[in-house]
Amino acid sequence: MIVKNLKELRELCEAVGDHVHLRENGKSKDGSFIDILIGMGTCGLAAGALETFEQLEIVLKKKGLNHVNVISVGCVGFCHMEPTVQVNIPGKEPVIYGRITHDQVEKLVNKVIIDGGFLQENYLIKSFRRAVI
């Protein structure tokens, strides 16, 4: 699909923005899905992010949580806390958790996704702020 001009590009930007809006301000049009971002740069992978990723998919499937997406992203910068996971729930500020190795996944899903709670030990930061633009 070739984007022909600026207007088409801006329309496309609007049309595909739902996931990004959820991360930016907690508001997606659809409003029914949750995004879990996993830092999967070289540093994250070295700390076991791939195992976390796979385990998340397994656990979510097992529990029938089909509205939760697992998304691979680059490094957030918290190298000392890898693997890092960011949870984006509609209407809430994103929360970043650190040291979510594969054995922490079940706990994370139960506490944060199912109970809507907080994982105190792994908590790093809660903020919409990621950038300036």
């Binding site: 022909k4 595909v16 990004v20 971002l37 680059g74 490094c75 890092t84 960011q86 970043i96 950038a131």
Partner: protein, 573 residues
Amino acid sequence: MRGESEEMIDLLRDKVAELGLTNTVKVIKTGCFGFCEEGPIIKIKPDNIIYVKVKFSDVDEIFEQHVLRGHIVERLLSVDPETQETYKEDKALGFYKKQYRIVLRNCGFINPEDITEYIAVRGYEALAIVVSENTPEEVIEVIKKSQLRGRGGGGFPTGLKWELTAKHRRSDKYIICNADEGDPGAFMDRSVLEGDPHTILEAMAIAGYAIGASTGIIYIRAEYPLAIHRLEVAIKQAKEYGFLGDNIFESGFNFNIEIRLGAGAFVCGEETALINSLQGMRGEPTKKPPFPSEAGYKNMPTSVNNVETFANIPPIILNGPEWFSSIGTENSKGTKVFALAGKINNIGLVEVPMGTTLQEIVFDIGGGIIDGKKFKAVQTGGPSGGVITGDNLDTPIDYESLRSIGSMMGSGGMIILDEEDDMVAICKFYLDFSREESCGKCTPCRIGTTRMFEILERLINFEGTPEDLETLEDLAINIKNSSLCGLGQSAPNPVLSTLEYFREEYEAYAYRTKKTSYQIIGDKCIGCTKCSKVCPVDCITGSIKKVHIIDEEDCIACGACYTACPVDAIIKP
């Protein structure tokens, strides 16, 4: 809000002065803490307690209760709306809040292998605007006005480089993205490529449009397989959407990008060596001039720019050059990404506005030194840079300030050293690196760095002499002045800078006064005998419940006792 904050600062200063506490309590005006919606904010250090929405009338209470008595004023703490917990300090707050992310804006935020996520954050909009609404000259003007300078180490103005490349009228021109990133301890460029590859493609296309090139080449080391993979995926997707290829956005502009792998030699990051390597020749630098902007790849005008430099381009186009030049210091605009490593709590990748002090980077963002040890120095610029000591921690980060204290911005590796680090050993490490990585083309660098390395090795083995220090200094200055390229010209920097700030450590080796044995602090020793049991050369004496002693002559400094001691009564040499 600003006016009220100023009044509060004055009030606090008056109170401190009134009680004669100016030496122990400092009232400091800082920049924004990041959560402006909760301002005005007062932070008390070293407790790291943050009070939010402070009113003029609250200042008294904070001063009386917290500053004078150490009681926390609970009602002014920030309350988490969800958990209803008051939080005194966010664990990661310092790490995040002093940062300002332009280059890393999408890293960790979008899926790098999904182009629609990049489009959703206004990806390729800058390219679309440029090719459909601006002339190449206008684009160059915008970049010049932004005052962006190259992030690959040299700090050359990017707009000017593009202009110099654009003015040559030749059939072919090239844009090269320098993703060699060879200095030990640096991983900024890798993270950008892994986390946001489309930004680099978009910026390269913009650069191509500006200088009149239709080919872009990414020179990346083969040791970065994940970054290479993500770039390949990104290029494929960008072609499918028509962001690369022919007639981009129906403007008549064509641009294609190819990836070329380097074998990972440090010298191939130097632009002329890089170009030689691209052409299948030995990765050796050549004399400048001619500069690549005149005769680069295939002898055609070429603009070589660093990954991080490119990552700044789309935001500058979208937000305007004034926005960019409003960030930073007088001569260094925008932000810089640093890779924090070494003896620091928050090892990681940080992006701060130019002008941020090292103090803020090491202690506020980096969270201070591991195990509460004492800070010794920061090494910036890797094998080409130098050390910055505690005395210079208030130096604002910019190209000129760092150079004036004998270090350099470099590409952004920052290694934090603590009291236990041995400066001579660290220099030996860097010289070993430079000597290995010297391409051998010019004599000063090839032989000189090896001689310097040998002297350092001699010193560390206690085989050196005081004269060695003079020879070392002499060699350093000569190599600096007579080498062909930046590698040799900067390889002596670590030695020169440590000789300036830590000469006594060199002298301790040269005059053989350096302690080589571990020691037991009598006051702390509980006589548990654990150390004497593990000592492999039986040089620790003492009976149960009595203070033990290490025989300095026999100690081989293996450190076994140090590890075994349960009460930290043993000190390293």
